[in-house]
């Protein structure tokens, strides 16, 4: 029997895919782009994301639970779709891969300044490969385990309360930020990952309210982001926050337990699981997209090609700023995709319905 996903697992999977490496720089990004009390934009962006998820929910409802690929292929010939599929798969694989690379470059800065980062990247990608070679149900189970391995870290931020001051938040809203379109997009990237729900549809039993879980996952992420950003704004002064590359790392570095010091290195290593999950999900999407083109190829080869090709491509950006710039570019593109893709699907569904109706009533 094919195992099916349930709500609880989906909510966790969505949260784990959305939250990734951006969280380390998020308080600074918000401060830089939206000035004092810039954390308020997280709420607005979260609402935008909710609207976007609603679009995807419409696809689910009108598509009657069929896979997005099936919907597309009903209308558009596979010959036309194939190159698009391959391009998209490459894009998603690269996106997932670069998220991992950014994590590893930060790890290098922290602990292994002279070791070749691609060695770690190899091990990281190997773990990803093991995971994507499983069914989505097993990936989700892994995500649930990883979730519990990392979520307790929220409580370490209570240690920062003695140094927290509302005074530092100031009553000013949005002073000293840029606030242009690019600013919005940059913060929006931190929320990406929820689009995986579109690809989960065929794996969910009809009765499960899959999208309720997606909304819950997204709200939980918003809550975590808000919590960390508000603490960041009260723990650091505004000027300091805009100068810290990874404020979250500095916050973790401030922790001190009576029996152990400098635990940020340990905590940062735990974030590996979160980042790994983001990478794995993008790899998985790339893989199932490729499997529509290469239907006869064994799935192990597809897994391997996704990982190997993206590993090869990830050799190109060498330094952390290049990786971040590339990730931003890919992120902007992905934002366009997450809006265009469901709209396209809805259009195809509408066309199908119209032609079906015409077939039923030829007069």
């Amino acid at each position: 029997m094919k195992e099916k996903l349930n709500q609880y697992h989906i909510a966790i999977l969505i949260y784990m895919t959305q939250s990734g490496i951006v969280i380390f720089s998020l308080p600074r990004l918000v401060a830089e782009n939206f000035g004092t009390n810039g954390w308020y934009v997280l709420v607005i962006i979260s609402l935008l994301v909710t609207c976007n998820i609603f679009l995807m929910q419409l696809v689910y409802r009108f598509g009657k639970g069929s896979s997005v690929f099936d919907i597309l292929e009903q209308r558009i010939p596979l010959a036309v779709l194939s190159p698009i599929y391959i391009l998209l798969a490459l894009f998603w694989a690269y996106l997932g891969c670069l998220v991992g690379k950014q994590y590893i470059l930060i790890l290098q800065m922290l602990a292994f300044p002279t070791t070749n980062p691609m060695v770690f990247k190899f091990i990281f990608d190997f773990m990803a490969l093991i995971l994507i070679s499983k069914q989505i149900y097993n990936i989700t189970k892994a995500a649930t385990v990883f979730f519990y391995l990392t979520i307790w870290m929220v409580f370490v931020f209570f240690f920062h309360f003695p140094e927290f001051s509302w005074l530092r938040l100031t009553p000013f809203i949005g002073y000293g930020g840029i606030g242009g379109l690019e600013s919005w997009l940059e913060i929006y990237i931190a929320f990406l990952g929820y689009e995986v729900c579109l690809f989960l549809i065929p794996y969910v039993p009809e009765k499960t309210k899959v999208f309720k879980a997606v909304y819950i996952g997204n709200f939980f992420l918003t809550f975590i982001y808000l919590f960390i950003c508000v603490i960041g704004f009260g723990f650091f002064s505004f000027g300091q926050l805009t100068n810290l590359v990874y404020p979250l790392l500095d916050m973790l570095a401030y922790l001190q337990l009576p029996f152990i010091e400098r635990i940020e290195n340990f905590l940062f290593t735990l974030f590996l699981f979160k980042v790994l999950m983001t990478t794995v999900i993008y790899f998985w999407i790339a893989k199932i997209t490729l499997s529509r083109v290469f239907r006869k190829v064994k799935s192990t080869w597809l897994d391997l090609s996704v990982v190997v090709v993206s590993y090869g491509l990830s050799l190109i950006p060498q330094v952390i700023s290049e990786v971040e710039r590339l990730l931003r570019m890919l992120g902007y593109t992905q934002i366009v995709i997450v809006y265009v893709f469901p709209l396209l699907l809805l259009a195809v569904i509408a066309l199908n319905r119209m032609s079906n109706r015409r077939r039923e009533n030829p007069s």
Binding site: N116, R168, T170, F172, F236, N243, W301
Partner: protein, 375 residues
Amino acid sequence: MKIRLGLQLVFILVLITSAVQSSDYRILEDLGFTNATSYDLVEIEEEGKPPVMRLRVVNSVPKVDPEEPADREILEAVADTSKQARIVMSRQTNRMLVSGQLRSVLFGLELAKAGVWQHIDTLVRDPSIGQRVRMVIVNGEASELLKRDYKAYPSTGLYIFELLQKESNNQAIPNVNLYHFTRDYYDDGIDAVAPIIKQGADSITLDGIALFHADQYVGRIELDHSLIFAFLRGNFTKGDLGMALSHEEHVLLTAVSSKRKVAVKGHPSDRDSFEIVFHIEVEGSLLEYIGHKTLSDDKGQQQLVREMEEYVVGQADQMLKTVQSYRSDCFGVGQYVRNSMKAQQWYDMDWDAIYPNVKTKVEVSIKIKNYGKFQ
């Protein structure tokens, strides 16, 4: 199956080669964990050239090997920057210098007057250095103080750290580490502070509280007034306050806790009505009283409390005038003024110019929790 086996083999092979090739391995015995660093400005004269100011850096690196004759290694270098100095110091030692165990940084007074930020910048930039590294100003040459061994005490680096830690716990000096200094340096409504130490005959002693304007040392508060300073700077829960109410009357409050409220009245544009009011609530146990009042009756107690309040108000007023004259907003008055107005007004205003002339008022209410176990 074959593919999977092949992959596993490749994985193991890469793990082994990476472990062999990695240059980032550390062997504990080969490392020198610096636990204190000092920075001083020195004037270097070379023949035929005008004198130049350079940085003297001293590192105190403890040794763990019981067979070694000395319990620490002292490394010294004169260079243009602290990281350059580290390279020079590295040439003098058989161990690899690392800064992950750094506990305190010491700045000489001359350097503090010139500005400390560029040296702190390199400390907060380095991911191996913790945020909790204590920062202290040395009245005199920091390098001299750090180089000396103090017989009756533990190794100098540790001695300084423990002294600062113990004294900041009971508010004798403010608790200042790299995080605090950086935070206040970047905040436009408060100025940073730091403790001052000096070299005694056979020991190190606390010497006062250093006041900063931006990153430059501008003045000091004497230690006798450190609790008044703590009252004005924020809330705390543990301290001892000794008061000389008159020549014959002395009081000591212990287990003092204090809460501070700051109110901003009026607007800076209207000089006459603009006023900052500090309201300080103090609680403590009276454990020493030398004087003529009878502490067992209410009247005597009330009279004493009133006199103590007057004493604290007088001292606090005096201190506010002193720090204003140094242009150091060490109590964060600016934060409250900033939060009392619109953003544009605050950023258009030159707070640094207004601050020295701001009217301040202190209100104190003291509550004595108990008078000890003797009437």
